[in-house]
Structures are given as structure tokens and as C-alpha cells.
Amino acid sequence: MVDDPLTEHFLRKLSEDAGFVAPNKMILSTIGTRYIALRNACRRMPKDFHWGEELVSALPYEFHYGNAP
């Protein structure tokens, strides 16, 4: 995957933006594999979210992390 210059350029940019300094081939290859897996996960998401829908979980706010009594 990282043998293709365009793909390598994209993965290197993605990795550097994520905080990796001079990412090596192992990092680029792992990021590339996970990128594909998580884009596949994204494809299952509905595409019709409405601006009024909740942006956080459906659970009551009082039980969110750090807010529990």
C-alpha cells in the first residue's frame, strides 16, 4: 500500500497531522490498514442526520464520564 507514492504521501500527511514525527513504513502501513477498516465502518453510518439530533449519547447527561454523582 505504501509503495504507491500518492498513497504514501496521503498516509504520511495523515500520520504527521496525528502527531507522528517522521513516521516510518510500519506506522504508515498500520495507519493505512486501519484507515480502510474505519472508512468501512463509516459507510454503515446513516447519512441523514438532522442538525437537531443529539451530538452526544442518548444516556442522561448526569451519567456521562466524570458527572456521575
Binding site: 514525527v21 486501519r34 465502518a41 448526569e62 456521575a68
Partner: protein, 464 residues
């Protein structure tokens, strides 16, 4: 003495209260058993017999002075090594955190210490509760006591192995996407992921704050209820039926309405044939016990898993970005490859996934209208061989644990029989938010009717 090893928590606690069993004698028996078998099973990262004997002597003193109201006074427990115990390392199974000493107890530890329970040690975990089983870490991989060289499940692997093999009556784990329920299912024990928020997670190394929960593993449902009551936040425990989970287990299940979500494991993807039969038989058993069981449909299980992935990985990457980007080679391959994925999810996709979570939760709760609980699978397959190179991927994909991580509902995994080759099978029961009482009520009725939990793992017996 050998009876002490697999003795239910409730029995041991009652004997200690009646001064018929000394906590020191009980703990010494478990220490000897652990020393005899854990060299082969690797449940503990850090076994602490000195701390245990200190706690046992303190419990004995309290019992001689009249005891008090604690139901776990003198009862041994283990902590998954993502939970802080002051003065001990919390490694999270990672070389990166090998020398990270906890300055204070986690909230859950405080409750156990205050209740007079006996700390036996820190239990093995997948790295950062996500990457495992890994053979490239400083600790050996825990072994399933039901079959040599088989996967114990994870990430609370050591907790499940120790409970299954009689080293502990209860252990505390954590469950973000199934990390209590998976090893419980593989090792033939009871494991609950309580309602999100029921247990305070302060002092627990996070993985994904949107999903992280602390859970309990035990051999018996009643013991699980006692332990969960001990660590639950009192203000939320008040929501339980009668303020107590234990009271509800006596009630039986006559008249309860249970939704069977069969398409998850029989249509969306087919579980192991013996696993399908085990859950179908359990559904018949629930009917025979007086519950009304009817089949319902929820969104495909893959939707829940995709939603979990799009939230867990970016949250985990954000938490550990400093270590991951500066010292990636110090992580095991499995944790590193999972966590790197979080760098590839955009903020927009992450927020959409949170909206998706809300939708999936609402859909699930709507389908539960008129129902008290849901019955479905936990894992699709019995434990895999550790030599099976495709096992890690299948263990992550072939399951229905993510469903109740998304919704935040309480969910318990129970033993549901054994394969023809002697490996544990499992089922999962989920209830409404903060209705752990009904979950325990149904689980207890099934346990009493089936008695699967009295069978002992061959490796635990053979190694003694």
C-alpha cells in the same frame, strides 16, 4: 480444605460471620491453590500474598469484634491491572506504564477496602484493555483453564481465569466493548457490565470514556450481585428494586417478558452450531420457568460494532497520543495497530457516530417496549486455540457484546453449557438502564435451573 477453593462467596462470608471459618484460613487456602496453578495459567500480573494476609488478619479482627454489615468482609478479590491500588503499579498490561505507581486507590478500590474485602493482587489484562492476546509484552498470555493453550478472552483475561480456576471468588474487571463479558463467556463464569455510570471510574485507566464501565466476574450470580452492590454508587443503587440486587434474585421469573434477539447469532452471522442450540434451549428453559419469551428484531449487530469502533478508537488515540506518537515501538503490535486507527477518524465522523449511538439506543429501547429484558448471545464461538492465527480477528468480530456497550444497558454473560469438546458456551441477558435487579433475577433463575457453574475446569483440577 479443598472445599474452600470453589466455595461460593455467600457461603464463605456466612461461615466467617458465624466464626466457623477464619478469613486467614480461607486466604491461606487460596494462596496455596494460586501458587500451585498460576505458574501455568498466568492470571495474575502481581500476586500479593502479604497484602492478602494483612487484609485477612484485619478482617478477622473485625469479625471477632462483632463484624459489621459488610457482605464482603474477609472475601478475597483481584483487580484488573487498569484499576489503581495505592502503592502498586497500574501497568494496564503495557511496558509503557510498567513503572507507573498509583498514588491513591481508585474509587472502586476504596469501596472494597472500606468493606473489609481482601486484596489478592492485580490481574492480567490485554494491553490498555484493547490489544491482546499478545506474546510481545513483558507478561505471559493467560491460559483458559478449560483447555490448554486456549484463549481466555479479554481484555479482563486474568480476572476470568482466576475466578474460573478457583483462585478467587470474585474479580473486578472493566468493560468498554465487552471486556468483562468476553472472558466470562470463554472461561465459563458470570460477568456483568453494569449500566454505564453505575460505578465511578475515577482511578481506572480509561480506554473510551463514552463507554468505559467497571464490572464484576464471579462463578455464581448471587456472588456477582453482592460484589456489584459493594462497588455501586449508593445514590444509583437506590434505584434498584428494594435498594438491593440480592433481594430480587429470590423472586423467580414468572410473568417476566423477555425479548429473544435471535437474528444476531442465527442470521446476521451464524454462531457456532452448539452455541445456537445452547441459547435456543435457554429460551425454552425461560419459558418453562414461567417467563414469556418472544422473538424481536434490532438493527444488524454490525451497526453497533461499527458505531463502537468509530467512537472507541479516536477517544483512545486522543488519550494516549503522546505515548503512541513518541514511543510507538514500546507498545505491543496489537494495541498499537488498534489505537493507531483513531488517528484516521475525522471529528465529523466521530460526532456523527455519537448521533448514531443515540439513534441505535433509541431504536433498541423502543424495541424493548413491553419487555423486561433481552436474551441473546455473548460470543459466537467457544474459546479459540492460541495457535489459531485468525482467532484474534474472529474474537473481535464474532460477538454481540457491542450492542449493549452502545446503549449503556446492563448486560450479563452467563455459562450456558459446554461444547462436545468440553469448552464453555454462554448467553447474554440485558435489562433496562439501572435495572440490574431484573438482570440478576433472570440470570439467577437460569443458573439454578441449569447448574452449569458447578462444573470445574480440568486444568485447575489437574494442576493442583
Amino acid at each position: 480444605m479443598s472445599d474452600l477453593i470453589f466455595m461460593p462467596l455467600e457461603t464463605a462470608a456466612n461461615l466467617m460471620r458465624k466464626r466457623e471459618l477464619s478469613p486467614v484460613e480461607y486466604v491461606e487456602a487460596l494462596i496455596r491453590h494460586t501458587e500451585a496453578i498460576d505458574g501455568n495459567l498466568h492470571a495474575y500480573f502481581k500476586f500479593c500474598p502479604d497484602t492478602a494476609l494483612r487484609d485477612a488478619r484485619a478482617a478477622e479482627g473485625k469479625l471477632l469484634a462483632g463484624g459489621g454489615s459488610s457482605r464482603v468482609l474477609g472475601v478475597p478479590y483481584g483487580l484488573k491491572d487498569v484499576i489503581d491500588y495505592a502503592g502498586m503499579p497500574t501497568t494496564a498490561g503495557s511496558a509503557v506504564f510498567e513503572n507507573s505507581i498509583a498514588a491513591a486507590h481508585a474509587q472502586v478500590t476504596q469501596k472494597l477496602v472500606a468493606s473489609g474485602a481482601v486484596m489478592m493482587g492485580k490481574m492480567a489484562t490485554h494491553e490498555l484493555a484493547i490489544g491482546g492476546p499478545s506474546d510481545d509484552l513483558p507478561w505471559p498470555v493467560p491460559v483458559n483453564p478449560w483447555a490448554d493453550n486456549h484463549f481466555a478472552g479479554g481484555s479482563s483475561s486474568g480476572s476470568a481465569v482466576a475466578v474460573a480456576a478457583g483462585m478467587l471468588p470474585i474479580a473486578i474487571g472493566t468493560d468498554t466493548g465487552g471486556s468483562v463479558r468476553s472472558p466470562a463467556a470463554n472461561c465459563g463464569v458470570v460477568g456483568i457490565k453494569p449500566t454505564y455510570g453505575l460505578i465511578n471510574v475515577e482511578g481506572v485507566m480509561p480506554l473510551s470514556p463514552s463507554f468505559d464501565t467497571v464490572g464484576v466476574l464471579s462463578r455464581h450470580v448471587r456472588d456477582n450481585a453482592v460484589a456489584l452492590e459493594t462497588i455501586a454508587q449508593p445514590a444509583l443503587l437506590k434505584r434498584a428494586d428494594g435498594g438491593s440486587y440480592q433481594a430480587s434474585v429470590e423472586k423467580g421469573i414468572k410473568g417476566l417478558k423477555i425479548g429473544l434477539v435471535r437474528h444476531f447469532y442465527a442470521e446476521d452471522e451464524k454462531a457456532h452450531p452448539e452455541q445456537i442450540v445452547a441459547i435456543d434451549r435457554a429460551a425454552e428453559q425461560f419459558s418453562a420457568l414461567g417467563a414469556e419469551v418472544r422473538e424481536i428484531r434490532l438493527p444488524p449487530k454490525e451497526d453497533y460494532s461499527a458505531c463502537v469502533a468509530l467512537i472507541v478508537f479516536p477517544e483512545a488515540f486522543a488519550l494516549y497520543r503522546n505515548e503512541l506518537t513518541r514511543r510507538p515501538e514500546e507498545f505491543g503490535v496489537l494495541a498499537r495497530s488498534s489505537l493507531f486507527g483513531g488517528a484516521t477518524v475525522t471529528a465529523v465522523d466521530y460526532l456523527d457516530a455519537q448521533r448514531w449511538r443515540a439513534r441505535l439506543s433509541k431504536t433498541t429501547m423502543s424495541a424493548m417496549n413491553g419487555l423486561d429484558a433481552l436474551l441473546t448471545s455473548t460470543n459466537f464461538d467457544p474459546a479459540y486455540s492460541l495457535d489459531d492465527s485468525g482467532a484474534v480477528a474472529r474474537a473481535i468480530a464474532r460477538q454481540t457484546r457491542h450492542v449493549f456497550s452502545v446503549t449503556g444497558q446492563p448486560a450479563i454473560s452467563l455459562p450456558a453449557g459446554f461444547t462436545s469438546s468440553g469448552l464453555p458456551l454462554s448467553l447474554q441477558i440485558a435489562g433496562r438502564h439501572f435495572d440490574e435487579s431484573t438482570v440478576y433475577r433472570i440470570a439467577s433463575a437460569y443458573e439454578e435451573a441449569s447448574n452449569w457453574n458447578y462444573r470445574r475446569p480440568p486444568l485447575a483440577e489437574a494442576l493442583r
